[in-house]
Structure formats: C-alpha cells, structure tokens
C-alpha cells in the first residue's frame, strides 16, 4: 500500500503496537528546557529511575532567561530557581546542557537545527508545542506534556495513537514582500485553529519546495496553531546542505549512510491523504492578525470584521470578545491601527534570515517616535552571525533595542512584556489574551511587516518599503 512520509516515519519507529492501535514509538531526539522539565526529573528521582539515553537528549534554558545584560544573572527568584534546577538536573542525569553563558544558548527550536541535532526521518519531541518546527527537516516532531517528558527520559519511547494524514499544497510563487509567515497565517485562517486536530500535516507543492530551510521552519513552527499534531516537509538537497558539517550532524561514513536513508524520505506518489487543502502563491498577501486567535487573520489591505455579519453564534461571540479585548472597532482599516511596541524574535521568526528581512526594511530609517522596538535573536549564534553582518548596527541606528537571545516577549515569562492595552506588532506565534503580558494586544506579522510597523508607528504594508 502506498504510504505518506508520516506513515513511513511512524512505521520505522514502532517498538510495540497493541490490538487497539496504541503504539510505543522510539524517540531519536529529545529537547529539554527549564519550564516543562523540573517535575519530570523530580518524578524520575521519586521512582528511582534513570535517563535511558542521555546522549539523545539536549537541554537549554530559554523561556526564563533575561535578554538584557546577563553578567548580573537572573534577578527574578523563581526564574532563577527554574534555570538552576535545570542545570542541577542535567548534571545529575548526565545530559548535555547549553548554559546561559554558552554562545550556543538560544531558543530550543532554533538550536536543535543549528547544531544538526535535528535530522530528517527522526522522531523529535520536546515539552513545548512549537516542536513542530523541526518538521521542516522531514522529521516527525511534536510537543508533549511534562508526564510524557518523564516517560521519554525514562524509556526513550512514547505512547501514541496514529493521527490521520493531511496534505496542504501550496503552488506558485511568493509575491514581493510576502514571506512564509504570511503563508502559514493564511493557512491557519483558512483551516481554522482546530482544522488540523487529529492530523499530521505534510506541506507540499512548488512554493513550499522553493522555500529556504529557515522559511520552512516558520511554516512548520505554527502548525500547532492549526491544531495538528505535527507538520512536516519532504527533505531535499537544501536540507542536506544545511545539515552538512553542523556539530551534531552525522560525520564521514555515517553521513553517507544517513544521506542515503534521508534521500528516500518522501510520500509515495499515489499515497492517500485523509484531507487536502490547496493554496496558490499569487493569492497570498502580507497578513496580520486582528483578534486573539491565530486564525483571526486579514491581509494588510483588510478591515476589522463585523461580528454582526456572522451567522454562527459561537463565532459571533468570539469575535465580539476579541474586539473588546483588542480595543478595535468593526470596519476599521487595519493600516489605521497605531502600535506601541514591536517585537522581532521567537522560534517562529528569530533566525538570521528573519533578521536580514527586517534589517533590509529598517535600513537608513527610524523607528517612529512613540514606538519601542526590540530585536531578540533566536540564539547566541544567530546574534553572532547578525553582528558579523552588521545587522545589529542597522537595528540600533534606527532606534531598535538589540537584545540577548531567548523566548522573551513571545510568552513574556521574563521581564519583557506588554503593559495593559499596549499594542504590539510581533513576529511571534500566538496572539492569545494576555500572552505577551496581561491586557497586552498582539498583532502577528512577518519580520518585514514588523519593521514596516516600527517605521510607520501603525500596522503597515511592507510592500511600501521595498526597493
């Protein structure tokens, strides 16, 4: 029977299957961070268990770390305890950790690919919903809860039931000023925040193949915002070239063996998908969210929707609630919405290409007077690369704050947060109520759009600033 890429990876990792389909899957790569792991390590200690494969596990502190000067350590006592607990646990259980002072430190989903820890055809898990990012490499990658983190640490396996197959095909070309962030926002707008529930999504089509490795990561990253278990893309030469020579990528004869295996990872031509959606690149515009769910998207030319036009009662109530929270009126042109802050960073858009995109727009221009704008590189290595290219100078000259790497204002667990009613153009992944700070109002956009908003002081069309 013809198989999808997901079917193949699934079958390749089956340790055991019960009659009811409940399966035990082998986990090749486990990423660990400070927020969702302390209780898992505590559980291991309480039941006197060890980490089965410390070498398949990589840890980093990212959610809680300050993005300002780190020489003074972490001032928040609870954050400090959580980061120290991770250090202690990694030492006790023999797990490799990139500490806060390590230049390789960064957001867990940025450092996995950067180090070559992320590999095609593997099963990758992490106690974080944005683990889907790694699917860009043709791996099956998904977020798990803390009990499952403990399960993986103890057994290197995970209990799962198989999801259904969903293919999203995007053909054609991206128009100028449109990025993979706009593609995924448009997809989520189309399928809805629960459109992928029960599925693993494979992104395919000529537009997807034309994307760079980093652009693919942005798409897979936000798969979870469409409710799917995981999102993946068939690996190709771009992926192999990206991985070649990375510190944790296979070496010498193992590289050849791996490459041989990776090259065969694709869905069969006649494989059956349970659900399919198709988009054309020419219909994709620069997008922006207006509400409090990632499905609440419009193009930058659009207007805020009117709940009165909704027939579905739940949807009507939900729009009303969102507009009240966001402080917006139906019919307003989104370009007329004034912003207070700009955040460029996160596991969605904190990589070097994202920073280049934003820097290109902001170069020789100034951040609007009433706007506070910040760039938080996704990792120490992204920061270093950007500084070598002089991007830090471009940002600083225009009035941006240039920060240390971490999750930062994507979820506002550290000191970087919005105040009530402050409005932010953000390259992150969630515009939920309170996500970037209690009462804070988030508009999700691409890095270029965030840069455009910083200059104009309102949400704006990045295409206006293209040369």
């Amino acid at each position: 029977m013809p198989k999808t890429l997901y079917d193949k990876i699934w079958n390749d990792h089956l340790v055991n299957t019960q009659d009811d389909g409940t399966s035990l899957l082998y986990v090749d790569r486990h990423l660990v961070h400070e927020v969702t792991s302390p209780q898992a390590f505590e559980g291991l200690r309480n039941s006197n268990r060890k980490v089965r494969q410390p070498n398949l596990t990589l840890a980093v502190a990212d959610h809680n770390v300050p993005t300002s000067d780190r020489s003074k350590g972490i001032s928040d006592e609870e954050s400090k305890l959580q980061v120290e607990t991770l250090e202690k646990n990694c030492k006790e259980f023999g797990i490799k950790l990139f500490g806060m002072d390590d230049k390789r430190q960064g957001i867990v989903h940025i450092i996995g690919p950067e180090q070559g820890f992320t590999q095609p055809g593997s099963i990758i898990v992490c106690g974080d919903s944005h683990t889907a990012t790694h699917g860009a490499f043709g791996s099956l990658a998904f977020g798990i809860g803390t009990s499952e983190v403990e399960h993986v640490l103890a057994t290197q396996t995970l209990v799962q039931k198989k999801s259904k197959n969903f293919r999203i095909k995007v053909d054609g070309k991206l128009s100028i000023g449109v990025t993979s962030k706009d593609v995924i926002l448009q997809i989520i707008g189309k399928i809805g925040t629960a459109g992928g529930t029960g599925y693993v999504i494979e992104y395919a089509g000529s537009l997807i193949s034309s994307l760079s490795v980093e652009q693919r990561m942005t798409i897979c990253n936000m798969t979870i915002e469409g409710g799917a278990r995981a999102g993946l893309i068939e690996p190709d030469q771009k992926i192999f070239d990206y991985l070649n020579g990375r510190p944790m990528a296979p070496k010498k004869e193992n590289w050849d063996k791996a490459l041989d295996y990776w090259s065969k990872l694709k869905s069969d031509n006649d494989a059956d998908f349970d659900k399919e959606v198709t988009l054309d690149g020419k219909d994709i515009m620069p997008m922006v969210t207006w509400g409090t769910s990632p499905q609440d998207v419009i193009s930058i030319d659009g207007r805020i929707p009117n709940p009165e036009n909704e027939v579905d009662e739940d949807r009507k109530n939900s729009i009303e609630r969102s507009l009240k929270y966001m402080g917006l009126k139906p019919g307003t042109a989104i370009k007329d919405v004034k912003i207070d802050k700009v955040f460029i960073g996160s596991c969605t858009n904190g990589r070097i290409e994202d920073l280049r995109d934003a820097a290109k727009i902001i170069k020789n221009k100034k951040v609007a007077q009433h706007v506070y704008a910040m760039v938080v590189p996704g990792s120490g290595l992204v920061k270093q690369q950007a500084e070598q290219e002089g991007l830090d100078k471009v940002f600083k000259d225009s009035g941006f704050d240039w920060r240390e790497p971490g999750c930062s204002m994507c979820l506002a667990m550290n000191a970087d947060k919005l105040k009530p009613e402050e409005r932010c153009a953000s390259t992150s992944n969630r515009n939920f109520e309170g996500r970037q700070g209690r009462g804070g109002r988030t508009h999700l956009v691409s890095p270029g759009m965030a840069a455009a908003a910083a200059i104009s002081g309102s949400l704006d069309d990045v295409r206006k600033f293209q040369n």
Binding site: D20, L24, E42, D76, D128, T197, F432
Partner: protein, 201 residues
C-alpha cells in the same frame, strides 16, 4: 496517579470557544518546579482583577461552582501551549472531568496522565448539560459505564479503552512501558546497526 471514581457534581459552564492553556494558567505561574498548588491561579486573568482581587461574577468564584468537579466548555478546549500546568491547575482546583465538543491534542493527552477525564460530546448535548449548570443541579459521570446521568436522562460517551483502564486503575504508564524493556532494547540494537548516526555523532 489517583484512581478515577464516579463523580457527582454541579457542573460549571464556561461558554467560550478556543479556551487556550494561556487562559487556563498564565505564564507567570509556570515558574514553579512543583505540580501542586496551581488551583488558586486557575483561569487567573478571568478570575482576578489587576490588583489580584477576585472578580465576583466569574463563575468559578461563585457558590456552588467554586466546588465544581466538572467543567463544561466551548469547542477546541485547551489549545495552544503544551504546558501540563493546565491540567495540574484544573486538578488542584478540584476539577477531574471536562466536557467539550472538541479538545486540542496535547491537552487531551495531558489530562489522562493526571487522572482527569476529558469527555467529547456533540454540541447539542453540551447545551442540554449546560442547563444543569444554570439550574445548579448535580450530574453524575460514570466512567466505568461510560454514562452521564442527569435528571431522568442519561448520555453515553466514548472513551479510548486503554486510557479508560489507566484512569480507573490509576496506572503509571512509565511502569507499563518499562514492561516492554526487552522490546525497547531489541529496537535499539537494530537502530544502532541500521542507523548508526542516531547514536554515534
């Protein structure tokens, strides 16, 4: 894990769709290194004002719903972040059963690991049950029989049989998986010969 027993409770009804785990437990409470004590912060931003004073008309701040063991909510409950702090907070508050027409995948799994039963029912049934919340009448959730009893009626619900067994018997699924240790070892042996790069680099 606590064994799941039949629950009798007046359900609390939150008629909001897409309740995300950020709403269930905001990020400032994820800094804990414990599983317990999160109940007081459940639905924090809906439950307390900026000064930390309880908002009186929020359902979980009112009697008898401050003692509800059952929460009925709009579709796609638990979407967003994978934080298991969400089920921990529900459990610590005393909620051991959630009823919705759909759930986000990770949250759904996390519930079962913590002795919480997430029940899926069609929208029409949800509306019917929500009346019992409004009337402040008890309903009974019986997992063994897969039935919800209310007034003179009952509704059947579906549940994965393996997950049901784990809930009722309070099984530790790590111990269950470790029973498969010979199979895991055998898999690893084959893996290191078929894909040596997984272990070697």
């Amino acid at each position: 894990m606590q064994k799941f027993k039949t629950i009798k409770s007046i359900p609390a009804y939150l008629p909001i769709v897409n309740i995300d785990t950020d709403m269930i437990i905001p990020k400032q409470f994820l800094k804990t290194i414990k599983r317990t004590g999160l109940g007081k912060n459940l639905f924090y931003e809906m439950r307390y004002n900026e000064q930390g004073t309880p908002i009186n008309d929020f359902i979980l701040n009112t009697t008898p719903f401050n003692n509800s063991k059952i929460l009925i909510a709009g579709k796609n409950f638990g979407c967003g972040s994978s934080r298991e702090h969400a089920p921990w907070a529900l459990l610590d508050f005393g909620i051991t059963c959630v009823i919705s027409s759909s759930y986000a995948d990770i949250f759904f799994n996390n519930c079962f690991k913590n002795g919480i039963l997430p029940i899926v029912l069609p929208e029409a049934k949800i509306k019917e049950l929500s009346e019992y919340s409004k009337r402040k009448e008890e309903i009974i959730v019986n997992l063994e029989k897969q039935k919800i009893n209310f007034g003179n009626s009952e509704i059947d619900f579906e549940v994965d049989q393996f997950k049901k067994k784990c809930l009722i018997e309070g099984l530790d699924d790590i111990a269950l998986s470790l029973e498969k240790n010979p199979k895991i070892t055998e898999f690893e042996k084959k893996l290191s010969s078929d894909k040596p790069w997984i272990f070697n680099d």
